[in-house]
């Protein structure tokens, strides 16, 4: 059964990765919005924002990376939705393969596509003057956090992908996720925000994740933030996975 699962997942992942290499526009459009935000905030608003950091692009990049992932996973929901609609999903379900491999293939594809988008955005940030003296270990830690964050959001994306009735419904869920970094420490420090907003901003997952990545990249001690950030990612991942699997089982039974 495990060989069925691994072989099936590998074949199906190869299939959906091919979808991405044949329409690279999905990776490009995923990166356009975060890059536009980055340009806008660095060259228009950035001069008026006092972050206490020497370079605004250094301050901004962690939040932009989270926005990149949040917009990228809407394609995961979209691709899953298309499979559900087209009948190929039923073909796979009626074949002697582990049924969950259909879902895992989409999840792994989402991971690869989002990491490519993140690399593209980092390269643009480097052109805009982003620099970091972080060592290999710190970069690996950043990559690990981004992978966990991508997996968590991907499993959220699976739910509308399975249940949506229209293309718009399949991708609309990502808008609030894209918006969340605006009410966090991603663009501006939270201390100038009024009480309730500040309380929300400081206690929502984006702030701790952004602060952790920022500290790692600027070689600051990460303190307890990294554990809170990891707890958020793992917590969201576990809950989203449970709901997605329950939805999937309802769909295929």
């Amino acid at each position: 059964m495990t060989t069925h699962f691994l072989g099936g997942t590998a074949a199906l992942t190869g299939r959906s990765l091919r979808h991405i290499t044949r329409s690279p526009d999905t990776v490009i459009t995923t990166t356009i919005m975060p890059i536009a935000f980055m340009l806008l905030f660095v060259y228009v608003f950035g001069g008026a924002i006092d972050t206490g950091s020497d370079s605004y692009v250094n301050y901004l990049l962690p939040g932009i990376l989270l926005i990149t992932i949040a917009s990228g996973i809407s394609y995961t929901a979209f691709r899953l939705f298309l499979d559900m609609q087209s009948g190929i999903f039923e073909r796979f379900q009626s074949m002697p393969i582990a049924r969950s491999s259909v879902l895992w293939a989409h999840v792994l594809t989402s991971l690869v596509a989002n990491l490519v988008s993140v690399v593209v955005v980092v390269l643009v940030a480097l052109l805009m003057g982003f620099h970091s003296g972080a060592g290999v270990a710190a970069w690996l830690a950043v990559a690990g956090i981004l992978i966990l964050f991508t997996l968590a959001l991907t499993w959220i994306a699976v739910i509308p992908g399975l249940t949506a009735n229209s293309v718009d419904g399949a991708s609309a869920f990502s808008y609030p996720l894209i918006f969340l970094p605006f009410i966090s420490s991603a663009f501006v420090p939270t201390d100038t925000m009024p009480g309730a907003v500040r309380a929300f901003a400081e206690n929502q997952p984006v702030t701790t994740i952004v602060n952790t990545i920022r500290d790692l990249l600027t070689q600051q001690p990460v303190g307890s933030d990294i554990w809170i950030a990891l707890a958020w990612c793992v917590g969201i991942l576990v809950v989203a996975y449970a709901f997605a699997m329950a939805t999937y089982r309802r769909k295929i039974s």
Binding site: S86, Q93, M95, I252
Partner: protein
Amino acid sequence: MAVPTATAPAIRVTGLEKSYAKLDVLRGVDFDVARGSIFALLGSNGAGKTTVVKILSTLLKADAGTASVNGFDAATQAADVRESISLTGQFAAVDEILSGRENLVLVAKLRQVEDPGAVADGLLDRFSLTDAGARRVSTYSGGMRRRLDIAMSLIGDPPVIFLDEPTTGLDPQGRIEVWQTIKELAEHGTTVLLTTQYLDEAEQLADRIAILHQGRIIVNGTLAELKQLLPPARVEYVEKQPTLEDVFFALVGDDGKHGDAGSDRGAATDD
């Protein structure tokens, strides 16, 4: 060809019931399909044909009754049933972004057959798709898609194949191509359960025909048996008008119909 001595039917359905919310789609469906035969489930839109196929192919669970395929129960031995079948659903379930060959290789890998590439090439040849094999499926005609769809269903030689309205939406030539394919399948010993709303399709292809109406099978028999349900034929003299199909083929030529069929039959002897 060596017919297995097992006389158990390839498909057995007894007392099958299924309702969606308050709508009773199936209200006690019974039928058997003999091994190596073509069985047509005939019915109008919404008669429940697709529901029967989905239950048999383990995509849906019945509310009551049993469905078994190749000796395995669709509800309790779903994995064994999936090893025994292929489903060609109502809408060609092919990957539009992949090429025809890549679609076949994908299914071959999923079914864990040896040498997926060679299997794919063999099927492309058998279904006259070799020239189009490297092209994306989004460029295929409806008939080509259907042929590819059926070719994908043959990988791994499942003993039972479900074809849910295989010719809906095809032009006359595409229909004849698909009919030819289905006949060849049965000649190779595959059991075919076919649903259709076209009476002539059932008449052309099926060894037995069952009519599904209002959730029940109201008749089940060979074409000859069904014809006997009506009063015996009377001889009448009528002027023979050409049918629109005759006109269509006279105008566009029917080389796709007979030329292909002949060469396919020749090629089929070597496997």
